[in-house]
């Protein structure tokens, strides 16, 4: 009996310690925290690394010395305060090209207080880094790369999902056949000082609340930055701010795997040449971004109805019409013509058709490009039978010419009725 008591005292001491640690610890300061267990490995010790992760104890820091490591896959399940650290993005390299099963190279599940930094992870068969059902996550100074940008690459390079409190900073993602940096079904996320190139989407915030995306550079993807809500998931997204980002030259072919139907969901809908796409979500602010040379659409605001969702999908977790979108003080520029791959893409073709239609309707446009901001025009009027010009609080405060088109997507397949309009009076911020 005595022993059991002692045991409980021991537990109590740990509890007190834990309270102390959590009082001064937050994600910003995580590097200063001391870990109870510190392990160091070098290349050639892959089996020991695997074993260390399988037997991980709370409060463990693992240092992987510089060099090349070859893994099938790695996982950490159910732990607190775990750090996985290399000696630098160009020094510690984890190669997952030998992945033989599972959905990802590194899989983190149910961890509170996880950080990964200072290394390159590359070439898994599935996703590279998936962090599931975890909280207090820091991904820092990490390269996540597939060497070829085609449909053989995994979907997501950096992929927290169902997480709370995420910081992704100073990372680089390349080659993802879906999104380089993807935050899904999470709450409280910051993506900053990151770069993403040669992915289908550079960065995607999906069904995620309270996200801030700033000081990033997303370029040479199919689309630079996406804020999407999809139906049938654990939560709606919203309250997303993106500012001071540089989103340029996203004109790459959409190489998401396409089958006999052609992919028309998720990132498959991103037209080559898209800077920012807002789909079926609400409370999004875009400001002070430089959105340059994304040559199909600088900013797209669309409803789930535009990509085939139906009203029966509406519930507490999903509303298909984008609402409360504020766009101001961005620098928006577009090149002289659509990128070649736009003509190969179902939405790309529609955008080309919109440009053509506007110029036909109004010879005074003198064959200008499609306006910088494309709004699909499918509003809640569709559901309420209302007639308000801007029922969903789309607000734009941008200087310049040829800014806006309401593309009248509802009639896009009915030539006699289709009237895209550049009248933006109702959409100017009050």
């Amino acid at each position: 009996m005595n022993r059991i008591f002692k045991n409980n005292w021991y537990g109590l001491c740990i509890l007190v310690l834990a309270v102390l640690v959590s009082c001064n610890g937050n994600t910003e300061k995580e590097t200063q925290e001391a870990y109870i267990h510190e392990l160091t490995f070098k290349p050639g010790e892959e089996a020991r690394v695997l074993e260390a992760l399988l037997t991980i104890r709370d409060s463990t820091s693992i240092l992987l010395k510089a060099g090349l490591y070859k893994f099938d896959n790695l996982s950490i399940v159910k732990a607190k305060q775990v750090q996985l650290k290399g000696e630098g993005r160009d020094k510690t390299i984890l190669d997952f090209s030998a992945q033989s099963q599972g959905g990802e190279g590194i899989r983190i599940t149910d961890v509170t207080g996880f950080s990964i930094s200072d290394m390159t992870i590359r070439d898994s068969r599935g996703d590279l880094l998936k962090i599931n059902k975890s909280r207090d996550i820091v991904v820092r100074e990490l390269n996540a790369i597939w060497k070829t940008s085609d449909s053989t690459s995994g979907g997501y390079a950096i992929y927290p999902v169902l997480c709370k409190k995420i910081l992704v900073e100073n990372c680089y993602a390349e080659g993802a056949s879906d999104a380089g940096i993807y935050i899904g079904q999470s709450d409280s996320a910051v993506v900053r000082h990151c770069k993403a190139a040669k992915n289908v989407a550079g960065c995607e915030i999906e069904n995620t609340t309270n996200a801030e995306v700033y000081n990033n550079e997303f370029y040479d993807n199919t689309a630079g930055f996406l804020v999407f809500d999809l139906p049938g998931l654990s939560q709606r997204g919203g309250h997303v701010k993106a500012y001071d980002n540089y989103l340029h030259d996203n004109n790459r072919i959409n190489f998401a795997k396409a089958g006999s139907f052609g992919t028309s969901w998720g990132v498959g809908n991103a037209a080559p040449g898209s800077g920012i796409i807002i789909l079926a979500t609400s409370n999004v602010e875009l400001y002070r971004n430089r959105v340059i040379n994304n040559n199909s659409s600088a900013i797209t605001i669309a409803s789930g109805f535009a990509v085939g969702e139906t009203p029966d999908k509406i519930n507490d977790q999903y509303f298909p019409v984008s609402k409360h979108i504020r766009i101001y003080e961005n620098t928006l520029e577009m090149g002289p013509a659509f990128p070649g791959p736009a003509a190969l893409h179902h939405i790309g073709k529609l955008l080309m058709g919109i440009e053509q239609q506007l110029n036909q309707q109004d010879p005074g446009r003198k064959n200008k490009r499609i306006p910088l901001i494309m709004y699909d025009g499918i509003s809640t009027n569709l559901l309420t039978k209302g007639t308000a010009a801007n029922p969903d609080s789309i607000c734009i405060a941008q200087a310049g010419d040829n800014l806006f088109v309401n593309a009248d997507f509802l009639n896009i397949e009915k030539p006699a009725l289709w009237k895209p309009s550049t009248d933006m009076a109702a959409f100017i911020c009050k």
């Binding site: 399940v77 305060q81 033989s100 599972g102 959905g103 068969r125 879906d178 006999s260 992919t263």
Partner: protein, 360 residues
Amino acid sequence: MRTYQMIAAGILAGFGMLLLQQCKGKPSTGSDAPRQTGFEFKNKLSDYGFFKGAIKELVPNSGVVRYELHTPLFTDYTVKDRFIVLPGDSQMHYVSRGPLQFPDATVIIKNFAYTNEQHQKVMIETRLLVKDPADHEWKVMNYLWNKEQTDAVKHITGARVPIRFLDDRQVPVSTIYQVPNTNDCKRCHTQEGALMPIGPKARNLNFSPAFLGSNQLADWVNRHMITGVPDVSTVEQLPAWNDAQHYTLEQRARAYLDVNCAHCHTRSGDAYNTGLFLEYEQKDPQALGILKSPVSAGGGAGGLNYDLVPGDATHSILAYRMSSTEPGTAMPELARTVIHKEGVKLIVDWINAMPKRTAK
């Protein structure tokens, strides 16, 4: 009974030793409140004394109870043997949905073997689930059989074992069998963050296995192994996936999906993020994948638009991923390196038999 007491004593001694070790103040966990572990897995399977005679014959000692499931999980055509060990005269408690409630110190044993071309049963691995009395949580361990087939040794890191086996049609197939590592075990066995058994649910135990010749649940009631079971004839039964005489195509397909998918594809499971939920009782067409777009399948969806297109298995991601062995595409993600031809056929037939419906 004597042997049984030995087993119980052995297990208890294991717990005792661990308590002692903890008293030496060796910190095993860091930041959380009482997370001490009481149970320590033994080094070899033989150390537990579960089986008598040549251990590979898996002849249970008394107190070690064999059981079977009406619809089992597919694992590369392996032959599985399952046993439950209840400590002392403790009892399980009936739960109508989800796994039964087990007393502390319960051990669930699952052995995996394959049939080689000489029709011999070759042992690969034995998995243990133990309900630790110290924290009432389940713990997992894997034991890898030696070449001599004389014992199995504790093994946490997983293994790739080349095998050549006979499938259900006695056709030889070569593969590299994947012994899961302990985190792989946790992926499927975790519900709401807690480790749980998957197989022993009342509805999947409620039938008459050939080895027993009578209803398994009723047998357990008679042997006082379980309390709280209502009249067995009123207990729900999960259909047998391969029994077309007694169950409809729909019933068999849904039972197959429940057992092979729904431990992850359920709201409390690992695949919560997908919105695809395949429990036997699931009624919501969207949750069942009917004309539902995938969420984060990426290339794993094969460019197809919907998880399930009624009447059109060829364009259903569900069937596509079951028919793949590529990492990142293959479903289930773990524990399958070859295609379950009969399982795929069942699901394909089920989808194709649905009245055709297309989106929009």
